[in-house]
Amino acid sequence: MDTFKKLKQFFWPYKRLLFISLFALLFVTGITVVYPIVLQITIDEVVLGERYQLIPYLAFGFIGIMAVKGLATYIHQYLGELFGIKSVFDLRNALYKKLQKLSFKYYDNAKTGDLMSRLTSDVESFRAFLSFGFTSVVRITLLIFISLGVMFYYSVPLALVTMASMPFLAVVTWRFDKKVHPAFRGVRKSLGRLNTRVQENVSGIHTVKSLSREDFEIGRFADSNENYRDHYLHTASIWAKFFPLMELLGNISVVVLLGFGGHLVIQGDLQPGQLVAFFSLVWYIVWPLTDFGFVINQFSQAKASGERLLEILEQKEDIQERPNAVKEHSIQGHVTFHDVTLTYVEDDDAALKDVSFDAPPGKVMGLIGATGSGKTSITQLITRFYEPEQGQVLIDGKPVQEYGLKTLRKSIGFVLQEAFLFSTTILENIRYGNPDATMDEVIDAAKRAQAHDFIMDMPKGYETLLGERGMGLSGGQKQRIAIARAILINPRILVLDDATSAVDMETEFKIQKALREVMKGRTTFIIAHRISALKHADEILVLEDGKVAERGQHEDLLNNGGPYQRIYNIQYQDQDTVLEKHPG
């Protein structure tokens, strides 16, 4: 119950809906039991007792009371559902908000698939319980007890005899539920695997085809397909085993009822109409009993789902704005690192060790080094995606923690290694960080990023849709749109994290030229593998295992005998010979 208590804020505001729905339910259940009673009166009083004057009262009374039931059913069902969907509306908004705020650290360890299943199936199972589950318990209990009451009122011995098989039914139902739910989970898991199998295959189809592995893939798929079928059939066999048995137990009650009830009628201890009423009443007990397991399972699922949702909602936000954070402040972009050490995962090796540098506005910093040497980490500390373990990251002389997150990040243009674009138009993608930008500003940014020409070549230009169903762009094109997106926010600090790796050299050169112009008087960080991309930097940090191995300008580093020179030699070892041989 603790889970529900913690989630109370989402459903309790709508408690009124629940209570009205429950109140309506009282009428629904009560009136359900009226039907067998009407039958009984018709047979015993009207037909056998020859009191025909009762007919109109019975007929119209029945229609009238059923109308009440109809209204009550409507209210019960609609408001019950509304209770669930309103709560889930709030819950979804809260989850989304939370997800927007969680830090990179959280996402480093989170899997999209797992998060998605929480946001979809867990939210749904929680809703299902709020909408039906809770009232189902009430409905089942009420129906069973009212029906039992009427049965005992008609005939105690017959009620006792008829109910004799119910304990067996309860046991069978209980065992069925214990078996069928794990089986269902198996089906779902198997379907999930089938899903992954196909998704991977389709995403990697070029690899499959170039290695001519179609038969192998068809074989693997057939295995998953078979596995799914077997899981499904296993579940079906549980149904086949238990469901007819439950029905048989209910039917046994009917047979016993007919035998013993018939005997009582012959002896004159029971009215024929009462016997007929029993036939209906029996099923009002049998079916709810078989439902009980289902409801209990729904409850435990909702509880488990609620826990998984709480895990997200209660996740600590590593990066939090300070209450007195500076918000109305224009950042100049002077970045300073003082002996910064960063560790991503406790007990792991530090990703950065005692890194210091000073980058006043106008400076271009180049970062180079092998994969995993800490280049990206440096830039992610500036935006405060992570917090340093030791040392200080300052902007304009103030620790980054003292700025409001939005203030800070608005002034930093980030182009990440993998250019992620959203499912929307090229236009919206470029002005993602600055939704108010005018068309002219967008085009200007695109031109600087060397993206305008290829965008205009597309049939719909800037209105071209990207994403799942949109146009496919090449890696280089994506990168150029990402650069335009970063330029458009008019940042004081620009970070290019291997942002032109998929762009051909000539274009890269043009982009750099344009950027140099844009970033005049501002701070630029360039991460690259290619010397050509950062040789103009005012200071180049050469990183090795999180430490600054070398620093200085291109010319200084060139003959330093360190890693930079090594990289340079690999990339341009025979430049001189080439140029000497073929003087331009």
């Binding site: 037909v47 229609i63 059913t73 048995l245 007919l258 012959i266 939704p435 799942e468």
Partner: protein, 608 residues
């Protein structure tokens, strides 16, 4: 709910677009239905008739019992106070119920076997078919839309083939049975009670249609919501970099509000269904009570027992009618799913294997393009009359801007496409004369973005040759220099990786794909921008590996970076689908043409 009103005013409601391709009902189509039913053919003489017989037995039991209770037990045994007769009837019903139990057990088993058999075949056929389709097919479709067909569309037929068809039969038979029995018992009472049937049908079809449409709207909204959630998680780093959390939250609030609203409407409509139906039932019951009681009094043929039977039958009436409406819905949904499935099944591979295609054995690797012309779609020509030769063991570099035709040449060598005109030959054999498998087994392609399949590292390397031993896998990894980083992973070669996992860096993934290619031991190897994402230190490490990989094979290099190209035996410079220059580095430099300018430009960038 407090944010609803502000959300409608937000200007961020249109910042993302999600086109949803959800199952919308289509009109009934006989041709398609027959094609679907053909999937049941393998079971037409075994499971299908068996399941139908089991179904008939249990339906018969359900139909007979009310007569035995009403017409016989109440009218004969109870009215005449005949205890022996009562016992006989009780035993009879007991036996009938046991039959019913057996028949039900068998029916559930058989029906599921049948349904799953059909679905398995359908899905297997669809997947195998799609797997054989050519690049052209995949070029024009997103992975998502293919996924939806193989999984969701097939799944939506599952219910139809498992319970749908049998339920349809059961319901029709039950309804007809009840009507016939009621008429036999008392035509007058039957007529009177059946007045409500047309109303029930009307509600069941009209209202249900309306309700179905509103739930379709809910599903569409939900797909939008989920698409956005998925994307927002994947793009969270961008969102936070650009501090768009607030704007996105407004967008989400809008989607969430739409979803809520659609859901509310659908619920509201759905909630009307049961009360209306029950009212019909109530009217029927009221007629039964008044007219039935009247008949018992005035009509010697109508007895209390018949009255009781009628009451039972009336209670049994609603379920089949309601389910028929459902079955009809299901059928219409199945129409749209099957239409899409058949659309895929009717796709023919553009690259076809000849019936008499031969195995390509002992490939040497002499590639020849003989006046090859190619266009991806009819209006844009990607290659114009290209003729070229690549000799066995040669390293050939293709140089040119994006869109100049470099990758197209590579794709034609693997026969992912067929030339529009001219011929591509290897060792003098036209590629169209050999089997695709034997051709591609001799060719490895390493792409810029390496695809990692979820599974162990060693399985990923082994993807190049599934029968390779662990030793061979490790050997290949060592040769390309991947062994070191694999060893450093938590579980070494047993480490589980996945497509979008963070465990491997871009460079490491690339090394894996080299190992994969090496293990496949091809005669021809194509490297399409394969080293673009690798840092220089790593690149240097793999240069040696690359040499080993290319050694003795015909290799085609596609690269922007001239440093990779320079050492090629032969360089082909392309522009807009034409070869404008070819030769080795020195020749081309002497020639002072386009290549020379490219090289100059690169060094200028360095010196500028």
């Amino acid at each position: 709910m407090s944010q609803t009103s502000s959300a409608t005013e937000s200007k961020h409601l249109k910042r993302f677009y999600y086109t949803i391709d959800t199952a919308v009902d289509k009109p009934f189509n006989w041709k398609q239905t027959i094609r679907l039913l053909k999937y049941m053919k393998p079971y037409a003489k075994t499971l299908l008739p068996a399941a139908v017989i089991a179904m008939l037995v249990s339906t018969a039991v359900r139909l007979i019992v009310p007569i035995i209770i009403g017409r016989y037990t109440i009218d004969k045994a109870l009215a005449n106070q005949d205890v022996n007769l009562l016992i006989q009837f009780v035993i009879l019903i007991g036996f009938l119920y046991v039959f019913n139990f057996i028949a039900n057990t068998l029916r559930i088993r058989w029906v599921n076997k049948l349904g799953q058999g059909v679905i398995y075949d359908l899905r297997d056929g669809l997947f195998s078919h799609v797997q054989r389709l050519s690049h052209r097919f995949f070029d024009s479709r997103s992975a998502g839309s293919i996924l939806v067909r193989i999984l969701n569309d097939v799944n939506s037929l599952q219910e139809l083939f498992t319970n749908g068809i049998i339920n349809l039969l059961t319901d029709v038979i039950t309804l007809l049975g009840i009507v016939v029995i009621m008429f036999v018992l008392s035509p007058k009472l039957a007529l009177a009670v059946m007045i409500v049937i047309p109303i029930m049908f009307f509600i069941s079809t009209k209202l249900r249609k309306n309700i179905r449409r509103s739930w379709q709207q809910v599903r569409i909204q939900q797909s939008r919501l989920n698409s956005h959630l998925n994307e927002s998680i994947q793009g969270i780093r961008i969102t936070q970099s650009f501090s768009q959390e607030g704007e996105n939250t407004e967008f989400f609030n809008g989607v969430n509000t739409d979803n809520y609203e659609r859901w509310r409407i659908a619920t509201k409509k759905s909630a009307m269904f049961r009360p209306l139906v029950e009212m019909c039932n109530a009217v029927g019951t009221a007629i039964l009570i008044s007219y039935g009681a009247h008949l018992i009094l005035n009509d010697p043929y109508v007895t209390t027992g018949i009255f009781v039977s009628f009451a039972f039958y009336l209670g049994m009436f609603w379920d089949p009618i309601s389910r028929l409406g459902q079955s009809y819905n299901q059928l219409l949904m199945a129409m749209s799913s099957s239409e899409r499935i058949f659309e895929f099944l009717d796709e023919r591979p553009n690259v076809k294997e000849k019936p008499d295609a031969i195995e390509f054995n002992d490939m040497k690797g002499n590639v020849e393009f003989d006046r090859v012309q190619f266009s991806y779609d009819n209006d844009r020509i990607a290659l114009h009359e290209i003729s070229l030769k690549m000799k066995q063991g040669q390293t050939v570099a293709l140089v040119g801007h994006t869109g100049s035709g470099k990758s197209t040449i590579a794709n034609l060598i693997s026969r992912f496409y067929d030339p529009t005109q001219g011929a591509v030959r290897i060792d003098g054999t036209d590629l169209r004369d050999v089997t695709l498998d034997s051709l591609r087994q001799n060719i490895s392609v390493v792409l810029q973005d390496t695809f990692i399949f979820s599974g162990k590292i060693k399985e990923n390397i082994r993807f190049g040759r599934p029968d390779a031993t662990d030793k061979e896998v490790i050997e290949a990894a060592k040769v390309v220099g991947a062994h070191d980083f694999i060893q450093r992973l938590a579980d070494g070669y047993e480490t589980e990786v996945e497509e979008r996992g963070n465990i491997l860096s871009v460079g490491e993934r690339q090394l894996l794909s080299f190992a994969r290619a090496l293990l496949a031991d091809p005669k021809i190897i194509i490297l399409d921008e394969a080293t673009a994402s690798i840092d220089t230190e790593t690149e240097q490490k793999i240069q040696k590996a690359l040499k080993r990989l290319l050694d003795g094979r015909t290799s085609i290099l596609i690269a922007h970076r001239l440093s990779t190209i320079r050492e090629a035996d032969h360089i082909i410079v392309l522009e807009n689908g034409h070869i404008i220059e070819q030769g080795n580095h020195d020749e081309l430099m002497d020639h002072q043409g386009e290549y020379y300018h490219l090289v100059k430009a690169q060094f200028q960038m360095l010196g500028a």
